[in-house]
């Protein structure tokens, strides 16, 4: 039976933890599963409500510049059954009041379930997460964990803290929640651990999730860079008179030079052996370019001092012309600044590769974040929260989407002459995206109130879709052996040291040697076994 399942799915891998390829013996502790089997994968039943003004290309988010009238009701009546739950979510912005917040009250009322938010600063969310999970009793009923904040030993954590949603969502069970069934398979894969569905995804578009934005209003007449060298010159040219060219641009460097993502961070080398991210020439090239950028003096001193929390403030204040950030920041900054400064404008830097080569975009995990439900004896609680999730996942063009993203008409927004929502001052205080971090519909670029933004972002993403490639082990969450959990940690510090000129490339070589002897080689063996397991099953793990 088990072998049959493995054969069915190209990504279901059974590998022994300690060594030796495990083949389908009845479950012992040594056996680890890293991907969702075909039969446990929720069915994908797409909903098409509204035709996009800028259709998605190969998974890039479709763009919408108008709101359909009338809106569709995706859920008939308040789906909740009156329960009250706590939810922990990150936020990159000013944390809104949770008591007496008309926006939260209105959404909770529409759902029929009260969600009490515990909102934490997104920049330090990961540090907090490790401590929160270490004390399972204090974990909120519904907890969002961004993919980049997943703590070590998370495969243990899900088993002991969070509810296994597989029985409720696998296969056609998900069709009881039509809006959740509208979420693509990759998003569910990203939120599954140990071969089971644990998380509800916040789906992400296929393409770059982080890149550089620049202040179009400040550099209106300048030619945009088309090579890494020109990018540094561009930053230098915009430095002076109390302004600097750039914040930290690591996300740009990784895209230009095609650096592997850090998780899991392996690719097949020329000789067929696995090569880790830190061993690749691309990683080196990106670091060297960053060193050059920093030494040019065009990076804002506070960014040099590693104060990334205020990167947005510096950018919006005009002290920095370019910033590299999650692209979700783009429309937030526009919404924040346009009311006071109608000329405020942001655009995204064109994407280019180094030395005339094409850039490489490694396909991001299907979900930027996953939210997890705390284990409970009472299955009714889980189904109530899934109903809530179904409400939150209502796609663009529904009343629910409108409510979650804009608040209440007349309170948080007024409809302008063109039928587009105009935010009120109350919205600026209260409507902070929090529900969207719990779960949401497939990524759309739906900010009809910012049509110029929708056009720019959609065309940029569509143009870059051709550079997307799947990294090795795509769609899998691989739990590394615990003893190697932190051997990669020194590189995070070293990257910062190298680009700021405090360490040299020779230090990188030394760190790689240390990494190899501290368990890097064992990790290579570990991943090679998984890789060979995938190959021998006849499936291909990567494109």
């Amino acid at each position: 039976m088990v072998t049959a399942v493995a054969a069915l799915s190209s990504v279901a891998v059974l590998a022994a933890c300690g060594g030796g390829g495990g083949t389908g013996n009845a479950g012992g502790d040594g056996e680890a599963v890293y991907a969702l089997s075909a039969e446990d994968t929720p069915n994908y039943v797409p909903l098409d409500l509204v035709e996009a003004d800028f259709p998605g290309v190969d998974g890039s988010a479709p763009g919408f510049t108008s709101i359909p009238d009338p809106l569709v009701a995706a859920v008939d009546s308040p789906p909740g059954s009156g329960g009250s739950y706590t939810a922990m979510t990150p936020l990159w912005g000013t944390i809104p009041p949770t008591d007496g917040n008309a926006y939260f009250d209105a959404v909770n009322e529409a759902i029929g379930t009260t969600i009490n938010f515990q909102i934490s600063d997104g920049n330090t969310y990961g540090d907090k997460m490790a401590a929160v999970l270490a004390s399972p009793r204090d974990v909120a009923d519904w907890t969002t964990i961004p993919s980049w904040n997943v703590p070590p030993r998370f495969n243990d954590a899900v088993e002991s803290i969070f509810a296994d949603l597989t029985p409720l969502l696998a296969g056609d069970a998900i069709e009881a929640y039509p809006n959740l069934a509208n979420i693509p398979t990759e998003a569910w894969q990203a939120c599954s651990w140990n071969g089971k569905i644990y998380g509800l995804p916040m789906p992400v578009e296929v393409g770059l999730t982080d890149y550089a934005l620049y202040r179009a209003d400040l550099v209106a007449d300048q030619a945009l860079p088309t090579t890494p060298e020109e990018l540094i010159e561009f930053a230098e040219a915009n430095t002076g008179d109390g302004a600097w060219g750039a914040n930290d641009l690591w996300a740009v460097a990784t895209a230009m030079f095609g650096v592997l993502p850090s998780q899991p961070g392996w690719e097949v080398g020329d000789d067929g052996a696995l090569v880790h991210r830190v061993e690749t020439p691309e990683y080196r090239a990106a670091l060297e370019w960053m060193t050059e950028l920093y030494s040019s003096g065009a990076v804002h001193p506070d960014a040099v001092a590693d104060n990334q929390g205020d990167a947005g403030t510096r950018f919006e204040g005009g002290q920095v012309v370019m910033t590299s950030t999650g692209l979700g920041y783009w429309h937030e900054a526009l919404t924040r600044n346009r009311p006071a400064n109608p000329d405020f404008d942001i655009d995204v830097l064109p994407l280019f590769g180094a030395d005339g080569a094409d850039p490489v975009i490694y396909k991001p995990k299907g979900a930027a974040m996953c939210s997890f439900l705390k284990q409970t004896e009472d299955e009714a609680q889980l189904t109530e929260l899934l109903e809530v999730a179904n409400f939150l996942a209502a796609p663009f063009g529904t009343e629910e989407f409108q409510l979650i993203n804009y608040g209440v008409e007349g309170v948080h927004y007024d409809l302008g002459a063109d039928g587009l929502p105009v935010a009120t001052t109350q919205a600026q205080q209260e409507v902070q995206p929090s529900y969207i971090f719990l779960t949401g519909p497939p990524a759309v670029n739906a900010k009809p109130d910012l049509p110029d933004y929708v056009e720019k972002r959609s065309t940029w993403a569509a143009a870059n879709a051709e550079f997307v490639t799947e990294p090795l082990f795509y769609g899998m969450n691989i739990a590394e052996p615990n003893q190697y959990a932190s051997i990669g940690q020194p590189f995070a510090d070293l990257e910062k040291d190298i680009v700021r000129g405090r360490a040299s490339m020779a230090d990188l070589d030394a760190a790689i040697e240390t990494w190899r002897s501290a368990g890097g080689e064992e990790l290579r063996t570990f991943y090679t076994e998984i890789y060979e397991g995938l190959e021998s099953e006849g499936g291909s793990a990567s494109s």
Binding site: G126, D127, A130, A131, L133, A134, S135, P136, P151, P152, R153, D156, A157, E159, S160, I161, G242, W244, H300, P301, D302, V304, A305, D306, N307, Q319, N482, A485, S486, Q489, P490, D493, K496, D497, R500, R502, A503, T514
Partner: protein
């Protein structure tokens, strides 16, 4: 000097400070009994607790030396009330200090918080072996000792000097206002202190902007690893030196002005009076604080350093506490961090005991003394 006449030694000057509420007469008798410890009528050790004046007097007149004629049972009965009064504190200490200490057992485990202490396997001394063979940990220890050593020389004496200076300010109103002004930064959080320094000395800070306007190229004090030691020490001085003088001022207040007058009559100048009267008077306080500081030698401002670690890099800013934090909490290697924390705790304890012993050798009271 406008000091009111004070008793020979106040509570601050006698660290163990257990003499409150005793009649001076009794004190003298006890002093006579302990002659070797009391010096020159100031700072008697005051180690005996809760003696009833009557009994003390009785013992003292009876024998003059013998102290332990009463039985354990007698003492229990005699101290009953005091013991009952300490119970809540002991209870809190057990509950919040000793019970959590049991959690240190994870240092000998392959611990996962998701499995729990009960089910995590024991792996002997493996975590400690990893701690001592880890170059980053040893590097963090080196940084910690460097910062401690530097601050011992360039931070520790500053409150003493400030206290001496302040003590010589005659006008009470002026003295109080100076004191208040230099206390104040103590109540700022480290986040604020680091931000203020960043806003003034950072690459985009006030000083650099002024320099740039005047046509000079600036400097960035906040991201320069070479001057980091001086930077953190000046931050600590700015924030805490004012606070540190309180205890020295209290010690200075206990010096009998008659000593100054007498020595002045004998022709002692300002420096001689300081050397022969003031400094000996605050010596027990200095030694007490020095010992406590040594006990903290491996603790050097966690918040202050973690806030600036990114700016200068772990090369100079990684200390034991930040390392344990990153390794344990952020990387989830709790057992390793517990082992490293235990090592630090044991070394700190040994430092305090050793320094205390050393103080005894030099005839000082130190933090405590076994009776």
């Amino acid at each position: 000097m406008s000091h009111p006449s004070t008793p020979p030694a106040g509570p601050t000057a006698t660290p163990s400070g257990r003499r409150e509420g005793r009649a001076d007469g009794v004190l003298e008798i006890e002093l006579a009994a302990h002659a070797p410890q009391g010096r020159d009528g100031e700072a008697p050790s005051g180690r005996r607790r809760g003696w009833r004046p009557g009994r003390v007097r009785e013992v003292a007149t009876h024998n003059g030396v013998v102290m332990n004629t009463i039985t354990w049972r007698d003492r229990l009965r005699r101290d009953k009330t005091l013991l009952v009064m300490t119970l809540p504190a002991v209870g809190l200490l057990v509950l919040f200090a000793y019970v959590p200490m049991l959690g240190n057992v994870i240092a000998w485990q392959d611990y996962s918080p998701y499995v729990g202490i009960a089910d995590s396997p024991f792996i002997g001394w493996d975590n400690f072996v990893r701690v001592f063979s880890n170059p980053q940990f040893l590097h963090a220890v080196g940084n910690t000792l460097l910062i401690t050593g530097f601050q011992l020389v360039f931070f520790f004496p500053i409150p003493i000097m400030l206290a001496l200076l302040l003590n010589s300010v005659v006008t009470p109103a002026l003295r109080t206002s100076i004191q208040s002004i230099i206390y104040l930064p103590h109540f700022f959080s480290w986040v604020l202190v680091v931000t203020i320094f960043q806003q003034i000395f950072g690459g985009a800070g006030l000083v650099n902007r002024l320099l740039a306007q005047a046509g000079y190229t600036g400097f960035d004090l906040m991201t320069n690893p070479d001057t980091f030691l001086v930077l953190v020490t000046s931050q600590a001085v700015w924030k805490d030196a004012g606070w540190g003088i309180i205890i020295f001022l209290a010690a200075l207040a206990t010096v009998d002005p008659a000593h100054y007058e007498a020595s002045a009559m004998d022709g002692a100048g300002r420096w001689r009076r300081m050397w022969h009267i003031t400094l000996p008077a605050i010596r027990p306080t200095i030694i007490l604080l020095l010992i406590l500081r040594l006990g903290d030698a491996l603790t050097v401002g966690f918040e202050q350093l973690i806030l600036q670690r990114g700016a200068v890099g772990p090369g100079v800013a990684e200390v034991i506490d930040t390392y344990v934090y990153y390794q344990g909490v952020v990387n989830g290697d709790w057992a390793f961090a517990a082992a490293a924390g235990l090592v630090k705790g044991v070394v700190s304890l040994l430092l305090v005991l050793g320094a205390n012993k050393l103080a005894h050798v030099f005839g000082e009271d130190g933090v405590y003394r076994k009776s």
